[in-house]
């Protein structure tokens, strides 16, 4: 009973403005990945790097497979953006995105974590479109997509859940590897000295004084470790969002070519109060018009029931 109450809000639906905007942003990320050329390095195969490591070597290292997936990703992503072929375009976009990044990781000697969040959120939004495809298609055909509550809350909550766990892992891994002393300031100074953009105000500040470097580094550790608190309501979500954005601003302002821009955008989108703002505006827009449920459209068009 309690579980039912807890989960009830998850199945409520709101107008699709925020969800659709997120999908378009994620699709633009997918196009960025498709544009990114292959990075096939040579060397001995390492142990399992991804969930597709069991694929035959001919597939893992094939440039043809990689290029074909890039093309398919672009086609599927554009189809999804235009809400065409919804029976297969969201799922194909998600699968192609996952495979392309997995193949990339299978063929490099240095990892990167710039597309993990985007990948999981594309998967999540593809699942939303897949599960609601009948209603979405019917609404599109009836021209009522923007007037219907088609965006289930669980999509938003699961995205917040993933952002929380992704960043919390970063904190936990630092503590488990180096202990609570990780934020000693010296290691941050060394990384900045070696790879940082020296003209950056963050870099200059951190390089000039170890105490400041220590505060920045420890602050990052605290924010990351406790980022799971974003699961517990709007205010914790906003506070964690601000903390993480501060962290990303520092990272991207210092290590300018690290490519965490995608993560930063998604953190801002989901953890800052954009969703209630956008949904509120959608609500105001629709109040004057007729509130139609997806079922009413389906019944009208004779699609279901």
């Amino acid at each position: 009973m309690r579980m039912k109450r807890l989960c009830k809000g998850w199945f409520d639906c709101t107008y699709p403005d925020f969800g659709q905007m997120t999908v378009w942003i994620l699709i633009s990320f997918a196009i960025c990945l498709a544009i990114l050329g292959p990075s096939h390095q040579t060397g001995l195969r390492a142990d399992s790097a991804t969930l597709i490591s069991f694929f035959p070597e001919q597939i893992l290292s094939s440039l043809y497979v990689y290029q074909a997936l890039r093309v398919l990703l672009v086609v599927a992503a554009i189809g999804w953006a235009l809400k065409r072929g919804l029976a297969w375009t969201p799922a194909t976009t998600s699968v192609c995105f996952m495979l392309i990044w997995a193949l990339r990781m299978e063929n490099v000697a240095n990892g990167a974590h710039i597309f993990h969040v985007a990948n999981m959120l594309i998967f999540l939004h593809a699942a939303w479109f897949h599960l609601y495809r009948v209603e979405i298609v019917a609404a599109c055909q009836a021209g009522t997509f923007w007037q219907l509550k088609l965006y289930p809350r669980w999509v938003f909550y699961l995205a917040v859940f993933y952002l929380g766990i992704f960043h919390a892992w970063a904190g936990v891994t630092k503590i488990s590897t180096s202990g609570l002393d990780w934020g000693n300031g010296l290691s941050l100074q060394l990384w900045i000295y070696l790879w940082g953009w020296q003209a950056s105000p963050f870099a200059q500040l951190a390089l000039a004084n170890r105490l400041i470097a220590q505060l920045l580094q420890t602050g990052a550790l605290v924010i990351e470790t406790f980022s799971f608190l974003c699961w517990f309501g709007r205010w914790p979500r906003t506070l964690v969002g601000l903390g993480l954005l501060g962290f990303y601003t520092g990272v991207l302002g210092t290590f300018v070519d690290y490519g965490f821009h995608f993560n930063a955008i998604l953190v801002a989108l989901f953890l800052l109060p954009f969703e209630p703002w956008i949904s509120g505006r959608a609500m105001k827009r629709v109040t004057s018009s007729d509130h139609k449920s997806p079922e009413s459209v389906l019944q009208k068009d004779g699609v279901a029931t």
Partner: protein, 152 residues
């Protein structure tokens, strides 16, 4: 949207959604614990270490020409991520370990093992610079070592 469960379609859809939600949460909670750094799962390990120093190398041949560090297995393979974790290609073999300083003997021995890659030079000169804490506030070059390694 009317309460789910009012029609067979809704109740089926609610079931599918519930399965997806539970699956998504469970997989993302357990995946990184069980599988570790294996895409699409990640333990976000970047910069999880705590180096206190690192080394820069500069090698020249007898004519003073700079020699590519990778050819002597002295290149840096560390990029902030734990070396070799979550990648399909093993990092190239190298003496360089971010956060560690090789001894003079280790460095000489290593260069003697690699000198045959450059058969035209009778010797190699190497300068190793250790970057670490200069004082309580700043980092920079703290130690320099110059070596001449002759072909035996």
């Amino acid at each position: 949207m009317p309460d789910a469960g009012t029609s067979p379609m809704n109740s089926r859809m609610r079931r599918q959604e519930t399965v997806f939600i539970v699956g998504f949460i469970v997989i993302n909670l357990i995946g990184p614990i069980v599988l570790g750094e294996r895409f699409p799962f990640t333990i976000s390990p970047m910069f999880c270490d705590e180096p206190a120093c690192y080394c820069e190398y500069f090698v020249t041949d007898a004519n003073g020409r700079e020699i590519d560090l990778a050819s002597l297995k002295l290149q840096r393979v560390y990029d902030g991520n734990p070396v070799g974790l979550g990648v399909g290609i093993q990092p190239a073999e190298t003496l360089d370990r971010f956060g560690q300083v090789p001894t003079e003997q280790e460095l000489s021995r290593h260069l003697l093992e690699q000198i045959d890659v450059w058969p035209d030079t009778p010797y190699l000169r190497i300068e190793m610079t250790v970057v670490g804490a200069l004082d309580e506030n700043r980092v920079g070059p703290v130690e320099r070592l110059a070596l001449k390694v002759e072909r035996p």
